[in-house]
């Protein structure tokens, strides 16, 4: 049995091959040009960022030995051989971690309430007017583009050192981030209930409350929990600029080279973040397990 493979006449085959080669060559040229541009950008960037490969290799040893020192107690033994000594400050640290969580909780809640108030003005389908929408959207963009730690720096000067500045910084950032996410959700709703309500003569607020809110409340709660998780992480560094939480202890330990303290605090932060991750995941599952899994 022979297998018939249809082969085109040479002439047509040559023409088709030519077209194919041209198409491939064009694509390859584009990829090569893209790659060249990327490499050039990298080269410029490495000059800009003062990168030096030789120093990197020398420093890599430092990096490894830094971690080695992080895991060594003052007495010279490994940290896990003497855990009470390693975590000697756990009482103070867990109080500060509690404060960190509280900062992000209060900040997220403030941000959620204000973001909630703003989002109906920013969503395309519920906004009372294009001007309001434009202004609110730009305002929220500003809130989330400026990093929260910059707000913290400014608030520390305005409100004084302490967790209040951290809370307000997180609030501002959460207004921007949550407001945007909320508004996107509101833009995706079904408009029929709103029309139904409006046809009965309901005002704007009543429309929002009874037609829009029931459709989005589960999604709102879900993204708010996620934001809380993110905020716990950023609250852990608010202390770097004096805005409360565990960050103060951490930056002191790093700056003063208390190596084992650094690793102990890092461990506690990582554990806290894990617990919060798992906790909010669990709450999300309990609240909306059946309807939505975001």
């Amino acid at each position: 049995m022979t297998i018939a493979v249809s082969i085109l006449p040479d002439q047509r085959l040559a023409a088709l091959n030519e077209i194919y080669r041209k198409a491939v060559a064009r694509k390859r040229l584009r990829v090569a040009l893209g790659a060249a541009a990327f490499v050039a950008a990298l080269a410029i960037a490495s000059v800009g960022a003062e990168v030096n490969l030789r120093t990197l290799f020398t420093y890599f040893g430092h990096f490894v030995s830094y971690f080695d020192r992080l895991l060594t107690l003052d007495s010279g033994s490994r940290v896990w051989t003497n855990i009470p000594e390693w975590l000697w400050g756990w009482k103070k640290w867990s109080l500060l971690l509690g404060e960190t969580i509280l900062i992000s909780y209060v900040g997220t809640l403030f941000g959620a309430v204000l973001g909630f108030a703003f989002n109906f003005l920013a969503a395309e389908n519920t906004s009372p007017g294009p001007w309001v929408r434009f202004i609110v959207k730009r305002l929220m963009e500003f809130c989330r583009t400026v990093p929260d730690i910059v707000f913290a720096l400014i608030f520390v000067i305005a409100f004084g050192l302490g967790p209040m500045a951290g809370v307000l910084a997180i609030t501002i950032h959460s207004i921007g981030a949550l407001g945007k996410q909320y508004a996107e959700m509101v833009e995706n709703i079904d408009m029929k209930p709103v029309e139904g309500l409006r046809s009965t003569g309901a005002g704007w607020i009543a429309c929002m409350r009874f037609a829009v809110l029931p459709q989005v409340v589960a999604g709102f709660a879900s993204v708010t929990l996620l934001r809380f998780e993110i905020n716990v992480r950023s609250a852990s560094v608010m202390g770097f600029v004096g805005a409360g939480g565990i960050g103060v202890e951490l930056i002191t330990a790093i700056r003063k080279f208390y190596y084992s303290d650094v690793s102990a605090i890092l461990l506690l932060i990582i554990l806290t973040v894990f617990v919060i991750d798992i906790g909010t995941g669990w709450v999300r599952g309990r609240l909306f397990g059946k309807e939505r899994r975001a």
Partner: protein, 282 residues
């Protein structure tokens, strides 16, 4: 009329007892949760030292600061700031690239369809989670201790913290890839590397490129932050000007950051469009 509607209600009650007589536990669930949340909130306000007087004073101060910020004015240090901005962008680009280069092989190891064994995958995933659990600023501080002050520490900090995030996202992209292409390569006699290169890469590359662009964007923001602890870039200038209360320069720097982020947003949107095509831009 009223009688009829009453009757209807009674009928509804009889037919749907669950809706009208919800158990006490489910009726109390929402109010008690709200009360709990509110209680923690109030406790937080008290514990964190919120008071109306401090709030008013602070807002008053903030008002002054905002007034003093106008108009934004760089003074004589515009070239310095432009160079710092360039440094920030360099940090973001190099950090993202470095993170992606290291994250890709690790993400292969963390993907279920490449390494089926749970014993290998689990520690790698936890390792990535641990790296992600630590904020970029903390990594920056660690790297400053290792390589000294300067933008290089910033590059390494961004690379390390994004390594965790990108590793996870890449491995998810790989797990979401279609099996059929890979099987096709194997059927035609390709080895494991061929499978990855020709079966997997064409599928995951657009996703990975999209994520890299997105991270470049967000790293422009992070790169401004890490300057605050001394890792170079525009954040260093910003933190310094805030500390010496040069508010006009501060507002100018913030404006610069906002514009840079907006421009990069726009460019990377275009690039993503070119790489992925209009279909998958999400």
């Amino acid at each position: 009329m009223t009688k009829r509607s009453m009757l209807e209600t009674d009928g509804l009650r009889a037919r749907y007892p669950d809706v009208f007589n919800r158990p006490v536990s489910s009726r109390l669930a929402w109010p008690s949760m709200l009360a709990g949340a509110l209680a923690i909130f109030v406790f937080g306000l008290i514990h964190l030292g919120f008071s109306p007087i401090r709030m008013l004073n602070g807002i008053h101060q903030l008002g002054w600061i905002s007034l003093m910020m106008l108009p934004p004015n760089p003074g004589a240090s515009l070239p310095l700031y432009l160079r710092a901005l360039g440094e920030t962008l360099s940090i973001a680009l190099l950090g993202t690239t470095l993170a992606a280069v290291f994250a890709f092989p690790v993400s292969l190891l963390a993907a279920k369809n490449i390494v089926p064994s749970n014993i290998f995958r689990f520690p790698i995933r936890r390792f990535l989670d641990t790296i992600r659990g630590v904020d970029t600023l903390i990594w920056a501080l660690v790297w400053i201790n290792v390589v000294g002050l300067g933008p290089f520490a910033g590059v390494l900090a961004i690379a390390l913290s994004d390594f965790g995030a990108l590793g996870k996202l890449f491995s998810e992209a790989i797990e979401g890839a279609d099996r059929k292409q890979v099987e096709g390569i194997r059927a035609s006699g390709g080895n494991a590397l061929h499978e990855i290169r020709f079966g997997l890469m064409p599928q995951v590359f657009p996703v990975i490129a999209g994520q890299m662009l997105y991270f470049f964007e967000s790293n422009t923001r992070s790169a401004t932050i890490i300057g605050i602890v001394g890792a170079g870039g525009i954040g260093l200038q910003l933190a310094e000007q805030i500390r010496v209360l040069e508010w006009q320069k501060v507002s100018f720097l913030i404006l610069m950051i906002l514009i840079a982020v907006a421009v990069i947003d726009w460019i990377s949107g275009k690039l993503r469009f070119a790489i992925i095509g209009p279909r998958a831009v999400a």
